[in-house]
Symmetry: C2
Subunit: 433 residues, 2 copies
């Protein structure tokens, strides 16, 4: 049986998972690859870290050149994460004739065009199933299985950390800070959770999906995004009362004016599949003109789910399937179709949830509803609770609107927030039925 | 740009959908295939049927030899359905050097070993994504995307007709016969619905999935199966009262003793993704040792969802990806791994729902619970309602058990059904949490 020699660059959590499968599941992999996948080298900058997986003697090294300069290694798996030194190393791996498998969405979102062009120049490929959706085979689905379709929309819960925190707030009735601490303790959130909770990670993944689904060449920084760090447990309560859960939703939707893209905490109606996605799970809902609505649900992060996607890519690469897809799709190329027009956020219509802190006196409600009405905004639901604290003169007022252009909504809110009876701290979130 | 010439054999609903995409979406397909897919011939036995799609003059023929003998046609799409003449035609297509794409699960479940051996002899491939799960890319997922995993279980709602009927009974509170009539009127059920509602279709699809996921070479007739035709709307009511929906569930699960396979109406707990699958939708839940739980949900039948899967296969075949997969996986080959032991139905443990028609007198309940107890079966819930009809002396008694081997359950029910106070018509269904 033929042998394909493989190296892993970056021996963190996912690296150890991939190494474990390669070392312990050789027979199963050989059945799917038609050849033995032999792990010959694992590179990590830090040789001293304690490891849960014991590698064969001599396999672990800090010298990445020992992979780049070894012509027998045909595929390298980049699991360093981040943009540098990952970018430079991937470029060198490609130049030295190796195919690359990566789980690094930040790298692709930042340097996709450069890296994919380098791969084409070198006659090699870059596979990246693990970069979006963890163990969910969404890259294969969009690039191959849905080829008959004009994709019309992609709605995703793409960041496991945010979803874990929001689920925790809903289920344990705790504040954001407590849920974040729990996520950090369980290893679902980094010590510095900024990239996850501010929507950066989800926007980078959405940029990749939007490129595959719509051919959109966009900088992830141009995707309007709001994180979950400002979501209050009170909003989770009120959303529940209205029949919704709050999810960090990444949306790419083809509309007559172009492509609408955004990442934001969104009220998702109970009973719809996206509302039932809990904990570290991810989900992606794709609508295609032939297939209709497809829904994928699985673990979006974690050692073994991510390793599962990396190994699938490795096999696809080793057997030659991915080279075919990679060549035909001409990903992130600058020739080909004209760029898709991104619809500005102000044009995007939608329903909105508002929470206002208002004076507990007659007339305020009438002033607010008057302003909304003058902007053509009609209300679908209103919640105004009696305050439990008799001495308080400020009460929360929740309004859910019917569909309205976001521009009109923003204009109306400017006026509402200037009312004497409306206090700072107004919350506005999108609603999805 | 290169051209691949393609023929469709069988111009029914799905055939017309595939032809429509090929004729109207040429540019999109060319972007994914790297060449033009040119539909050159459509074969159907009946040239007189009214068609919703107008083909170019001269394309439609009743002469299948005009495809078999045309060396320029490299791929043929078999959409005749059933086993003959589909089997003979596919064999001839393969012998004449054409790759085959099919949506025909009955053909594969009956003649898979023969057809796949013939394809290998001819150096050709058979692609069959559309044979299971309609537009859901489950074949690609199991054969390629989950290659890193030992799959542990597959749970599927695989028959759209049955799911539509059960959903209809639940939502419209109607009897089986009325729901079937509605399904027939909407085109979801054949005039003769036997293959769908008796579980044959689901068992054939399960046999295919079990082969791909577990290497099991099984005759679909050996899969224990119960259809939905005996499900009473009363059971749907009582299930709802207990917090469950009834679904026709196809199960393949690896257990220490071997592989457990069955198709049966099953109570699925509300709030789990499978319980939320409604109408003509299908869903498949796959558990793998690395990826964990993955869930796929989409339209399992219908013209365009099925055509979407057929076109994906066609592109996979034309670009050469499927040839690689097909060669390596060596599907339905008789060499290779030893056959997997099928666990007999009697060994399979589970929870059960029972509905008994019992005498409305003291003592019956005690006799029944005594028998269950002597067989080691404990009850999780019991429902005994007052009858609305005062003159009736027979009342329904519903029992949901804790986990018990099916053999013990069957033994106990033999004794229960012999009690003087228990009338014929006892219903027993599996429960899944």
């Amino acid at each position: 049986m033929d042998v394909a020699k493989v190296a892993i660059i970056g021996f963190g959590t996912v690296g150890a998972g991939v190494a474990r499968i390669l070392l312990e599941r050789g027979d199963r992999l050989a059945r799917h690859a038609g050849k033995r996948l032999q792990l010959v080298r694992v590179v990590d900058a830090d040789l001293k870290r304690p490891r849960t997986l014991l590698l064969p003697p001599g396999m672990l090294t800090s010298d990445v050149a020992s992979v780049i300069n070894d012509p027998e290694i045909t595929v390298a798996i980049e699991l360093i994460g981040g943009t540098e030194p990952a970018r430079s190393i991937v470029l060198k791996l490609l130049e030295s004739g190796k195919d690359v498998v990566t789980a690094n969405k930040a790298l692709l979102a930042e340097h996709g065009p450069e890296l994919f062009a380098a791969a084409r120049r070198a006659g090699r490929s870059i596979a990246f199933e693990a970069a979006v959706g963890g163990g969910i085979p969404i890259i294969a689905a969009i690039t191959q299985c849905l080829a008959a379709n004009q994709i019309q929309s992609v709605h995703g819960i793409l960041n496991s950390t945010s979803n874990f925190i929001l689920s925790q707030m809903e289920e344990s009735d705790c504040e954001y800070s407590a849920a974040l601490a729990e996520a950090q303790q369980r290893g679902y959130a980094e010590a510095n959770p900024t990239l996850d909770v501010h929507g950066t990670d989800a926007a980078q993944k959405l940029a990749i999906l939007a490129h595959l689904a719509f051919g959109a060449r966009i900088n992830w920084r141009d995707i309007p995004r709001t994180g979950i760090d400002l979501v209050d447990v009170a909003d989770i309560h009120y959303a529940k009362e209205l029949g919704y859960s709050i999810k960090l939703l990444a949306v790419a939707e083809l509309v007559p004016e172009g492509l609408e893209l955004h990442v934001s905490p969104t009220l998702v109606r109970h009973g719809t599949p996206l509302a039932e996605v809990r904990g570290a799970y991810n989900a992606i809902r794709v609508v295609g003109d032939a297939v209709g609505r497809l829904f994928f649900h699985g673990l979006g992060a974690g050692q073994m789910p991510t390793a599962s996607a990396v190994i699938a890519d490795l096999i696809d690469t080793v057997v030659g399937r991915w080279a075919i897809t990679f060549r035909i799709l001409n990903l992130w190329s600058t020739d080909g179709e004209p760029p898709i027009h991104l619809r500005s956020r102000a044009e995007a219509p939608g329903r909105f949830y508002l929470r206002l802190n208002v004076d507990d006196r007659p007339g305020v409600m009438s002033e607010i509803s008057g302003i909304l009405s003058r902007h053509g905004i009609s209300m679908a639901s209103v919640i105004l609770h009696e305050t439990e604290d008799d001495s308080s003169t400020v009460v929360p007022l929740m309004i859910m609107t019917h569909t309205v252009p976001e521009g009109d909504m923003a204009e109306a809110m400017k006026s509402v927030n200037q009312l004497a009876g409306v206090y700072p701290g107004t919350v506005r979130m999108r609603v999805r039925d």
